[in-house]
Amino acid sequence: RDTSGSFYEFQASPSSEQGGHRTVYPVKTSLSLLPRLFTSYPQTKTYFPHFDLHHGSAQMHAHGAKVVSAIGDAVKNIDNIKSALSKLSELHAYILRVDPVNFKLLSHCLLVTVAAHFPAEFTAEAHAAWDKFLSIVSSVLTEKYR
């Protein structure tokens, strides 16, 4: 719990005022997450035929930010991930239907991204906590599949 929380504080930069709402979004990690996934595991691109997948595309950045933000919600509700991600779980089960194998791939890329940006903080224990947390998030997102 402690390690997951403080990572999201590290990641929360910069913050910006947007139409009166304060948006704090994890820039560093969201920028490279999807490029890493698509470069190491090109088969994952099959879920995004409608996207501009060139390096630096606004669509990719926005989507990476969305994913990281949702994971942030799970961090904030770490004792009730099921309920925090309930709508997303339905979305993945009935609409997106991303094969479960891909959650492992994305989780791995997220860990690589975090390790690259926060090497000092990403100790073996932090790594263990994050791996466990992401595997729980993955099972919540796939639990309504059948």
């Binding site: 890493r36 470069t39 890329c109 390790a115 690259a116 790594h127």
Partner: protein, 147 residues
Amino acid sequence: MVNWSAEEKHIISAIWAKIDIEEVGAAALTRLLVVYPWTQRYFSNFGNLSSPTAIEGNPRVKNHGKKVLTSFGEAVKNLDNVKATFDKLSQLHSDKLHVDPQNFRLLGDNLIIVLAATLGKDFTSEAQAAWQKLVGVVAAALSRNYH
């Protein structure tokens, strides 16, 4: 035979030349044992593995990590012939060590995470992709002689 682009070969050897084998090897094995504690089943004679701190400080873990990564280096030096390079080691892991090949994949991914922590932004998407391919090839070569 595996097809390596010139770029992939360059990325792999450049990174290999940069890293401290002893340090990275120890870190990768440490993380395996900490993040996936069930992997400790193969190291019952390694002494104290009772906590992340114990594992991190364990000299047998450090030595073995160095040994494993040094051996991995044979793949780096023989990218066009990884299968043959690990022929005997594959047999050893299957017949004597009885290691579930899934562990090759776990250790490979852990190695990549350690490389990311070591190299930071220099561990680009392209660098990761080349190394993912390498750890996959090594895992396949080590699994090849199981029966």
